[in-house]
């Protein structure tokens, strides 16, 4: 145990777990004591979903070193498939928490499959080209769900694209109604479920990073050519990070959607992908605790700025630019280093 504690990465992961557990206990007890505003209470599940989005994207951007601008697409896949599963299984699994778990697994599996399919072409590209193609896929996924009609009746699921051709029987129910999305969702997502999902994702990411596969992923990030020269298959490990990340985003999407009564495809657009990317960059590349804090704070911040109503998004934008300038401008960095002695900037290369 003492030896484990000496390991920097292990120590970091324990601090992160402890932080998440502590935050859960505190928030849960405040909520139970009735000391929480209902607006914040309603945000607990979305915060969890965004936290999972941020740490899963950090796996791709921070650990694997590939810029993805379409992460919301996987969230969308998870939301629509997971909610469809939850609705379809409403009678088969009456127990809501169990149905939630099954729905999240379905969402994760489908998002993982889509991630794999997208990964085949995308991971052949590099840098900005890879980024633009992930953006394109995100938009394509949005377009598809905006035009997808899925209904269910006694005969099973009926799927059609562009227009409602599901021809349901009388007892049938149209689940996904194109641009109207899914309505009448039973809100079965809970803060506890979100908390557990965060822990599971952290467990997977930390253990992956500290294993042979995680080292291979980081080796490719640091130097692709050297990684190949020591016998590492670049495609395999890039794909591994990409698929795991997509699956997590899918589970987050299911959790997110099951917290509202309706879900529409436009909720998961380019802006959502960018929002999650902002969480990751703010929290620090490869830094999971940073992602968690950034996701939570930046999800609550616009709400907290509600007093400023019209100016809040403007303030948000200014804060975003100023933080980027403060943390990345060499001149400001040097100034900060002088003000705070002993604080050494971690080196990251481009």
């Amino acid at each position: 145990m003492k030896k484990l504690w000496k390991n920097k990465t292990t120590r970091k992961s324990f601090v992160t777990y402890a932080f998440v557990v502590l935050a859960y206990v505190i928030l849960q007890s405040i909520a139970a004591g009735g000391g929480m505003k209902s607006s914040l209470k309603g945000m607990l599940v979305p915060i969890c979903a965004y936290v999972v989005m941020a740490i899963s994207l950090n796996l791709v951007v921070g650990i694997s070193g590939e810029l993805s601008l379409g992460h919301a697409g996987f969230m969308s896949v998870g939301a629509f498939t997971g909610v469809t599963a939850a609705i379809a299984l409403q009678n088969a699994i009456p127990n809501a928490p169990l149905r939630l778990v099954v729905a999240m697994v379905v969402g994760a599996v489908f998002a993982g499959i889509v991630g794999f399919l997208i990964g085949i072409p995308v991971l052949r590209l590099k840098g900005d080209y890879l980024a633009i193609v992930t953006l394109a896929f995100g938009e394509i996924i949005k377009s598809i769900f905006n035009n997808l009609y899925v209904g269910m009746d006694g005969k099973g699921l009926h799927i059609s694209l562009l227009e409602d051709k599901t021809h349901l029987m009388e007892d049938g129910r149209l689940i996904i109604a194109g641009p109207m999305g899914i309505g009448g969702i039973q809100k079965i997502a809970t803060f506890t479920a979100g908390f557990i999902l965060i822990l599971v994702c952290l467990f997977v990411i930390f253990n992956l990073v500290n294993s042979r596969s995680g080292r291979a992923i980081m080796a490719i990030r640091d130097n692709r050519i050297a990684a190949e020269s020591v016998g590492i298959s670049v495609t395999k490990y890039k794909m591994m990070a990409f698929v795991i990340s997509a699956a997590m985003a899918g589970a987050a999407g299911t959790l997110f959607a099951l917290n509202y009564s309706t879900v529409v495809a436009n909720k998961f657009d380019f802006n959502t992908s960018i929002l999650v990317l902002v969480f990751v960059v703010f929290g620090g590349l490869g830094n999971m605790l940073g992602s968690i804090i950034a996701a939570a704070v930046l999800t609550v911040l616009p709400e907290a700025l509600r007093g400023f109503a019209t100016y809040r998004m403007l303030i948000y934008a200014i804060v975003l630019v100023l933080v980027m300038l403060a943390t990345n401008s060499p001149r400001l960095k040097a100034l900060l280093a002088r003000l705070v002695p002993g604080r050494k900037e971690e080196g990251t290369d481009g």
Partner: protein, 282 residues
């Protein structure tokens, strides 16, 4: 791209190979036949023939831009040859990828150092052990017993390999913050970790002072003796090349202009004209 699809003339493999006597009864570890690559219209390497013994230390020298690193890139399939064959331990490597070549037994270092800079020295070596101590991603995520076993084994092996260059104390240092000489040595350790039968060193002594170079020479010989592998190195430091290379191959404008022992090379007028002649102090 190549206008001439196949070169018409079939030149027999030069028999003036310089395999050390002790390796003569075994298959050569590497055999290149009429190897060549064109970049656009430029014949970067042409008609490159080489036979390397199993425990031979050989040098590849030549003026800047002669195509030495390109030969390494051909051997490791960073580039795919336009012409010719590469046999590794008697097996044709055509169509193989860089990682496959490494698994087949070639490991290399790079002229412009390529370490995993954000990772620790130990992790760099462990990445070299990637295919030596394998376990699946799921085993790693769920930390099954095999994970602990293999991690322990690779930790010990990594420290053992680092001790060749007395680097075990730096195991936790990020590779990017090592001094230059140590970075070059770490690259060699990482390459060795992949358990190669042929080690390619691209200017291992570049930027080292004479005493460091002397130490490196001893270490290269020690590595060959301990691991019983072949070493092919590119180097401009003639003291190192003449000191430890049993066979030397001189490249100029992408073609081999001379092959032989250090004495033969030093006496070869073509070499002196092309290469050594310009360096008065050599």
């Amino acid at each position: 791209m190549a206008k001439e699809f196949v070169k018409g003339k079939m030149v027999p493999v030069p028999s003036t190979s310089i395999i050390p006597e002790r390796d003569l009864d075994k298959t050569p570890i590497l055999e290149c036949r009429h190897l060549g690559i064109d970049f656009g219209g430029l014949r970067a390497v042409d008609d490159f023939n080489l036979i390397l013994g199993r425990t031979e230390i050989a040098g590849l020298i030549g003026p800047n831009g002669a195509g030495k690193t390109t030969v390494f890139n051909l051997l490791t399939k960073v580039y795919h040859p336009t012409r010719g064959t590469i046999l590794l331990d008697g097996m044709d490597t055509a169509g193989k990828t860089t990682p496959q070549i490494n698994r087949m037994g070639i490991a290399r270092t790079f002229q412009n150092i390529r370490l995993f800079n954000n990772l620790s020295v130990e992790d760099n070596v462990k990445i070299g052990l990637h295919n030596q101590e394998p376990y699946s991603a799921a085993t790693g995520i769920f930390r099954l017993p095999k994970y602990w076993r293999q991690e322990k084994a690779s930790h010990e092996r990594a420290l053992e390999l680092l001790s060749i260059f007395d680097m075990q104390d730096m195991a936790d240092t990020p590779a990017g913050s090592l001094p230059y000489g140590a970075q070059r040595r770490l690259e060699i350790v990482r390459a060795l970790a992949t358990n190669p039968s042929l080690l390619l060193l691209d200017e291992p002594a570049a930027g080292m002072n004479p005493s460091e170079t002397g130490e490196l020479m001893e270490n290269i010989v020690k590595i060959r003796d301990t691991f019983q592998i072949a070493v092919l190195l590119i180097e401009h430091d003639m003291r190192l090349v003449m000191g430890i290379c049993e066979g030397i191959c001189v490249l100029n404008f992408g073609r081999i202009i001379a092959k032989g022992t250090s004495d033969e090379i030093q006496a070869n007028p073509t070499v002196i004209e092309a290469y050594l002649g310009r360096k008065k102090e050599a």
